[in-house]
């Protein structure tokens, strides 16, 4: 099973290297080459140092891609580009879910977030069809206070996160932990009332969206 993962990454490394060799423009060569190098390192690392260390490497790689894409989401002037980068973030989060043994949630993440919700966004972007004119930048005091608040948030949260001790029971999770079966057990045996409430919320949101979005008759 582990071998399949290393082989898959080796194949990805070869494919991206081929793509880099075929590219003309220098930035494309650099991007595809970097991707190829990352895949190659992941495959070799995994083959020599074992699956746990492979997971670690994958975590750092995906976390890096995730943060870079998130920054691109908020820095693109064109909302369509933002949407595409947001899909990248969702796929990265889904990979992190798999690394964390939440396979069902990873599938839900891809189907609902990267699929349904992003299609909704892209439809709306098509519908509103605004010209992409660089929006006026936020005033300086606003930029400063937003960045300051975000920095304060990180200063408050990161030390707390790093000071948390790992739980003793970590690593002894049951087989088939994140499968549909176990999640269904958890949802339908222990959280029946919240599940019904959430389905009601979805129904109301659906009706509300139709009512709000309906074109008014003159």
């Amino acid at each position: 099973m582990d071998l399949v993962a290393y082989l898959a990454f080796g194949t990805l490394a070869a494919l991206t290297a081929y793509r880099a060799a075929k590219s003309r423009a220098m930035p494309h060569v650099a991007i595809w080459g970097a991707a190829s190098g990352a895949f190659l390192i992941a495959a070799v690392w995994g083959a020599f140092r074992g699956i746990s260390s492979f997971h670690d490497f994958l975590f750092y790689l995906v976390a890096l891609v995730c943060v870079v894409s998130a920054v691109r989401v908020i820095s693109q002037p064109n909302p369509v580009h933002s949407a595409v980068w947001l899909v990248t973030v969702f796929l990265c989060v889904s990979v992190l879910f798999i690394l964390r043994r939440a396979e069902f949630l990873a599938a839900v993440q891809v189907i609902i977030y990267a699929g349904a919700i992003m299609v909704l966004y892209v439809f709306i972007i098509i519908f509103v069809d605004v010209e992409v004119t660089g929006e006026e930048p936020a005033p300086l005091w606003m930029t400063a206070s937003a960045l300051g608040l975000a920095a304060a948030l990180l200063v408050a949260l990161v030390p707390v996160a790093l000071s948390l001790r790992p739980v003793q029971s970590a690593g002894v999770i049951r087989a088939g932990y994140g499968t549909t079966e176990r999640i269904a057990e958890a949802v339908f045996f222990n959280a029946t009332a919240p599940f019904e409430a959430v389905s009601l919320v979805l129904l109301v949101a659906l009706i509300g969206a139709v009512l709000i979005g309906k074109a008014e008759k003159e």
């Binding site: 879910f97 964390r100 977030y113 006026e136 975000a150 948390l164 919240p194 599940f195």
Partner: protein
């Protein structure tokens, strides 16, 4: 295996990025996308600690968060369409009078 602490650091960074996007961008669509970023960072944290404790309740909760995010996107984008129909703009700056 990366520890839950590292997942929490990543989720804090994602949340901060989403927060900055939500406050600084004027395009309502991108503001919604930043909100999705923040919801995803919360989900990441829930999943990381769910596995840490070996308790699937966190995954159940993340599932509910995804459902509520879908509802939020549907209603929010419907309101955006309504606003766009009234005045052809998606910039929050053009809707300052909604402050009252």
């Amino acid at each position: 295996m990366a520890t839950a602490s590292e997942y929490m650091v990543l989720s804090s960074v994602l949340f901060a990025v989403g927060f900055v996007g939500f406050t600084l961008r004027r395009n309502i669509l991108v503001m919604f996308m930043s909100a999705e970023l923040m919801l995803n960072s919360a989900n990441l944290n829930l999943i990381a600690y769910s596995t840490e404790w070996g308790n699937p309740t966190g995954q159940t909760f993340a599932l509910f968060v995804i459902a509520v995010a879908a509802a939020e996107a549907a209603v929010g984008l419907a309101i955006l369409m309504l606003l766009f129909r009234a005045r052809a703009t998606v910039s929050a700056a053009d809707w300052r009078r909604l402050k009252g």
